[in-house]
Symmetry: C2
Subunit: 235 residues, 2 copies
């Protein structure tokens, strides 16, 4: 048996128009876990363009994907299409059911919701999409990190780094997680107090909401459709 085979696998879902840091943040932490390997998995093996233009090459496609001990589902604008894509939703359900740890980052929790994984569960998500989780039967949480059973959901984008370090402490040890935190020199100095709608200046929150009003309307419609599909599936 090769060493590769003995390693546990963390799978990270890649899909078009997603927010790359939702994936690359946790990847930087999980990629440093001893005795683990990471696998970037996409619907096909074609390179995938993320929302700000970064093009990532997947390691595996849905057909060749490993079974994951830990499965990371990121979010971003592409989530609105992903929750309506049965192939992606089915894959998320399938790999989540087989995983010991399930990770929803940012609006990735909407994908977990669409797959029926959050019914009756407390769940976090990007502050602009959190309320929509209730449509999938989840109990939305405002915390940066929310843990319910084996489902770990986080706030937007950068929260995935905090969550990955927290999970690293669980799957390996606090010492390993601390060593990774030191390697990536994670002693943050955010220049402003603006990282959540609760601490940001009200004017900034207002602008952020105005700038995304159109996208929000598309998302609300997509979630409604995805929620109806889930109900049909459960009937």
């Amino acid at each position: 048996m090769t060493q590769q085979r003995e390693k546990k696998v963390a799978g990270l879902l890649l899909f078009p128009n997603m927010t790359q840091l939702d994936l690359t943040g946790p990847l930087e932490v999980l990629g440093r876990l001893p005795s683990w390997r990471v696998e970037i998995v996409a619907p096909t093996l074609a390179p995938v363009r993320t929302d700000k233009g970064l093009v990532i090459q997947p390691d595996a496609c849905f057909k060749t994907a490993s079974i994951y001990e830990l499965f990371v589902v990121p979010g971003g604008p592409g989530t609105d299409d992903a929750i309506l894509d049965p192939e992606i939703v089915d894959f998320v359900r399938d790999r989540s059911n087989a995983a010991a740890y399930i990770f929803g980052i940012c609006t990735g929790s909407l994908l977990l919701g669409a797959a029926g994984l959050l019914r009756g569960r407390r769940s976090g998500g990007h502050w602009q999409a959190r309320d929509l989780l209730s449509q999938f039967g989840a109990i939305p949480c405002d915390d940066r990190l929310t843990i319910d059973g084996n489902i770990y959901t986080s706030g937007g984008v950068t929260a995935g780094i905090d969550m990955a370090l927290r999970v690293a402490a669980e799957v390996a040890s606090e010492e390993v997680a601390q060593q990774i935190q030191l390697q990536i020199e994670y002693d943050p100095e955010p220049p402003f107090k603006a990282g959540t709608p609760f601490v940001a200046p009200p004017e900034i929150v207002k602008r952020a909401l105005a700038a995304t009003a159109e996208r929000r309307a598309i998302r609300v419609a997509a979630v409604e459709t995805a929620a109806k599909r889930l109900e049909t599936l459960l009937d």
Copy 2:
């Protein structure tokens, strides 16, 4: 004239075996700047494998690269080869000389040093490589963010996010930077006090140093060679 042409360009250097979060962290911030576009530039147009396995497709190669208003030079294990690669070092010097803002993230500052850009300048870098900056005539700094003239250098990996937000406030406005910080929900909750060698438990620092002793020896030799080359160039 197209809108694309009017946009300012932030160039981000991609090279083999680099640490992906050094690039993807700043990219997530800079990619959200209004009136800017980002360009991932590598020696050739071939996909590039980063140190933990993520494969990124460049947007441009050295021959087709734009001139950058802001140029981001990341680091990682691959830095040791990059500082000995004349093609990369020359490109870094050339694009930095044309840029209004130069960014060295993590050990990326070693690359700026090898290109002769840090002589007499205060400069930061990853805590395990900072001291080596003096070989290129720089004055090493322990701060997470160091600014000297138009050269912005940061500590390891995650420090690039803080630096990019700081620069966003300069090239756009504080309001824009705050809005980006809110979009990426950057209100960090690191699980441990372990993000610098000054705050981490001594045992963790000791382990981190032991784990990288071999790599450190390779780096020391590479920096020595690169520093000699730079001296020859300056004679």
